[in-house]
Symmetry: C2
Subunit: 604 residues, 2 copies
């Protein structure tokens, strides 16, 4: 169900989207101007000038334009529409005669596409195309689509089996070209996307300092058993491959992607859904290499993960992918932006020590920051939130009976497959979802509600339902109601025996939320670094945090005082008196103060 | 006691030094020529030509020259002496009129010292000076010393409080200048070293992508409480600061270095002595951030650690620094070179998983390699082994009584403080050390033998001795014997409670050696990744490994089969039947085959 069929009007997600609209996107406009991204476009239009920012600076503008387009569709914001048109005109002016568009390559006088391993020329094109499709669909404007089509036609002339075989170091063009094919019907775009997917994995991407796996270029997509290398690149490539598989009916490719996703979920994904275990190369690690402290878990990687999972859900109907979307959105993407909307995490570690040194502006020890030299994450979060409605519902019909599946629970309305539904919920702050039918299709129809795997004991209209899709097939009438209750009782999660970094520790969750313990809730005399949880004591639901507006959990533990010897001959730690543990949802951490934090807590 | 007073003639270390002489150093000569480092010198002498290798390529030549000098002193090797003179002439020819010397900066036509954050101009100068002093002391030749003095004089004219305040991004010039001061008596060299030490830590070193702490430039040396950033840079700076402190009698500076070393040893050092927890920035991590799998523990960092510890031993007389030298030499430096002497580890991880992907030539999954694009480690190991004798003994007299302290146990002879001793030992393969007096000073004299902290139950001539320095003060005569017995019984080591990455695991040691379990010793049906050790079963000494020529340890364990869920709701692993564990010294790992390995083993 596209964005036209979903309205998010309140509840938890309504608040988040309001902040995105009121703060994040307007500040994004300012910061893109201040950082020089817009000046690059203006200089390129003139054909000369200094460049500012990183080689992929254009893409941040395009991601912002995509966010703006979805936001205009949501709210009809007039200021945003004016800004969209102003910026679109600047993009159009920066495009060259033959369709080529990349401000920094042009301004620096570099030959086109000769260093495609790092110039991000296709990457920028991909984000432009995505923004153009969003603008057309969301606002009806075709200004950016004209630019995108000219650029895509130029790419079709320049790359492919009978033209240049060069590949961009950073995928995204693949999924963008499929989207443009869907928008325009031009088969050449799909063909080029398919070429890019299949040409990759043959170690052809040259670069100064990076090995092939950094670029997802070591193993062809069809043979890849687990994603590796730079996490954002790997998942962006995978989502494009999923698009190609669906449009081509390519079962082999889809099966390869299912295997990859399963391997990632089983061995390379943080509890938060976060992807990428290494700072070095911003990469997936080896299987079960999942350190909390040095987790990279880039906000953009979680966004790519959400997009990949949603495509896999649509391609396979497997509800576990929708569970993944939920987990990654709430615990992987959402922590990337402050509750006030103006600051961002690039890196989403699951542990910060009390005496950690901030050695890099991406280091979470610094707290969230307003912008970054590499500013990929902020506008990526903006566009993800403004298009959140796209993840809410699907319409896979069964036996030709109209069918609507609610995949994510938001307060608002959903209209598709002949249904018009109002949904009342404060999910994920509460597990009750009330669905009220406003309009219903004629005759028998099916309403499906996703029951997440974590929701053991869930009920639908009072009857127990299993994880997966709870389906109700019947004749519907306006005024009908369905009530889903998802248990939000707190629970303890253990790590797989193979995850060395988490041995002897547990995490706590409630509903779809992963929780974290922050120093501010423990007090100075009880360092988070020395905390242990007592699993003999009950986990309890606490009061909602007044400042954060989020639920809390309560537990008991002890502080262990460690000895001075790093490697003693016997266990050397002394348990001190009990301490009350208060945990907040991970996405909300570092919104009061920035200090020590941990998701995984050693057991007492 | 300098190298002139120590001869290593057999036993464990004699074998290692023989391999260094027969294989490593001759191959180093070939590889420096093949890699272009020597061609850079030739081109610089002509004043033009292409450059090859990294910006610090000269330093590898100098480190090789230092190794050659110590080796010539040890063995009088004629081939090496000819090669030394040939290469020294090329270095001299590459030097500019005013003393400046850096081939790549010159050949690329870069302005001198304008990008000192990354050009390594002082770094190369430092290694040249060290090689020059070695050449003078070891071989009597002064060819390189002439070059070094001209270069040092140029530096004295160019840098300092009343000249340029620029600092090199990579320390080593500090310790080198103090050494040159000791060799020549020129106070200006010591003054410049002291200036470099004290000018640092004020965030003046600019670089494209690195923060000040990468360069040890965030906090002044005197105020630094724990080393941070790039590990090699941090320890090289610290050793230079220790030299300055000693020469200046600067108690404040020395106290600061003692605090730093203690903090490092307590919170930032691997069990192997390895330094540097992060690939990103090749850096020390935060305190207690010590992952086994992503340990960087660069061979060069352990070498710097040895040099720093030795300087602290000499400055303070604290025997724990000699324990550190022993630990780092055997478990941090020695694993960096293959037993056959031709291949090197750059990175010394404490764990490699069975399905690890080799993503970088430094990744230990590749096994040791013959050379690297950044080839700092191989010649650094060569010079460390060829100068090993320098760590063997000290002569701190007490109450004006002649005194000789044996700090490291090698088979061979030691002559100093009026003593001439023959030492019989196969340490670290055996804990027995027999010291026979060949010559003795007149009257009362003191012989000290270090008793390592790990050697609980040690005896000297049958009497129990405590950790520290076991002193015998008496009148000595030729033929006197002293026997030290250090217990090599295997022992279990636990991690400090704060080291999250090691929770629930133990390591095993015997004598000064850390042990590792390799897949080749477990067999294919029993993955190292799933191994757990049973601490209820005894640790035993195994037979010496015939291929490796090293002692082994035996233990018992079980294989645990982990479930598929990464984050199950309860502990999800099943113990399978018992498995025999055979462990080899960590330094010897990856000498039979390269596969999964771990030092820290989860407990059953």
């Amino acid at each position: 169900v596209g964005l036209e069929g979903v309205a998010i009007r309140g509840g938890f997600w309504g608040e988040r989207l309001a902040v995105n609209a009121a703060t994040s996107i307007p500040q994004g406009w300012e910061r893109l101007h201040a950082a020089g991204n817009v000046a690059n476009l203006e200089a390129a239009a003139r054909g000369e000038g200094e460049t500012r920012g990183e080689i992929f600076a254009d893409s941040d503008v395009y991601k912002w334009l995509e966010a703006a387009a979805w936001e205009i569709a949501r709210t009809g914001d007039e200021v945003l529409l004016r800004q969209q048109r102003e910026l679109t005109a600047k993009v159009a002016a920066a495009q060259e005669e033959d369709g080529y568009l990349h401000t920094i390559v042009r301004l620096r006088g570099m030959p086109r596409y000769t260093e495609l391993g790092w110039t991000h020329e296709h990457y920028c094109a991909g984000h432009l195309i995505q923004a153009a499709v969003a603008q057309r669909r969301g606002t009806g404007d075709t200004g950016l689509l004209d630019v995108a089509v000219r650029l895509a036609d130029h790419l079709v002339r320049t790359f492919g089996p009978r033209a240049s075989h060069a590949l961009d170091g950073h995928p995204v063009i693949e999924t963008a070209l499929v989207e443009l094919f869907r928008e325009t019907g031009t088969a050449a775009y799909l063909d080029l996307a398919a070429w890019f997917v299949d040409a990759r994995g043959r170690s052809t991407i040259g670069d100064h300092a990076r090995d092939a796996n950094y670029f997802s270029d070591r193993v062809p997509v069809r043979e890849t058993t687990t994603p590796e290398g730079h996490a954002v690149r790997a998942v962006y490539l995978a989502e494009g491959a999923a698009d190609v598989a669906v449009e081509r009916g390519d079962a082999d490719l889809l099966a390869a992607l299912e295997r990859q996703f399963a391997a990632m979920a089983a061995t390379k994904q943080y509890l938060t859904g976060g992807l990428g275990s290494r700072w070095e190369g911003e990469a997936f690690g080896d299987p079960y290499e999942l350190p909390s402290d040095r987790a990279y878990a880039e906000s953009c990687a979680a966004i790519g993960g959400v997009q990949w999972a949603q495509r896999m859900l649509l391609a396979t109907g497997d509800e576990s992918y929708a569970d993944q979307v939920e987990r990654m959105l709430l615990n992987g993407v959402l922590p990337g932006v402050s509750l006030a909307g103006g600051e961002y995490f690039y890196v989403n570690a699951l542990q910060v020590r009390g005496d950690a040194v901030p050695d890099d502006d991406r280091n979470p020890v610094n707290g969230r920051l307003g912008w970054f030299q590499t500013a990929c994450c902020p506008p990526n979060i903006m566009r993800t939130l403004s298009s959140l409605g796209a993840y809410v519902a699907t319409t896979a019909s069964v036996d030709d009976v109209p069918a609507l599946q609610l995949q994510q629970y938001v307060h608002g309305s959903v209209a598709a497959a002949g249904f018009a539904l109002d949904v009342e919920t404060d999910h994920p702050r509460d597990g009750r979802v009330l669905v009220r039918v406003r309009e219903a299709p004629e005759g028998e129809a099916e309403l499906g509600l996703r029951v997440p795997a974590w929701a053991v004991g869930a009920t639908l209209d009072g009857e127990p339902v299993e994880a997966g899709l709870a389906r109700i097939r019947r004749t519907w009438a306006p005024g009908d109601e369905v009530e889903l209750v998802l248990p939000f009782a707190p629970r303890v999660v253990h790590p797989n025996d193979r995850i060395d970094a988490l041995r002897g520790s547990v995490a706590i969750e409630a509903g779809p939320l992963v929780y974290a313990v922050e120093q501010v809730d423990l007090g100075d005399g009880a360092p988070v670094d020395d905390l242990r949880i007592d699993l003999d004591e009950p986990l309890l639901v606490g009061e909602s945090d007044a400042r954060l507006g989020v639920p809390t959990l309560l537990a008991s533990g002890r502080i262990h005082r460690h000895g001075p010897d790093p490697y003693p001959g016997a266990v050397d730690a002394v348990a001190a008196g009990p301490v009350a543990i208060r945990a907040v949802p991970y996405f909300a951490w570092a919104n009061r103060s920035v200090g020590a934090m941990r998701v995984w807590i050693p057991t007492d």
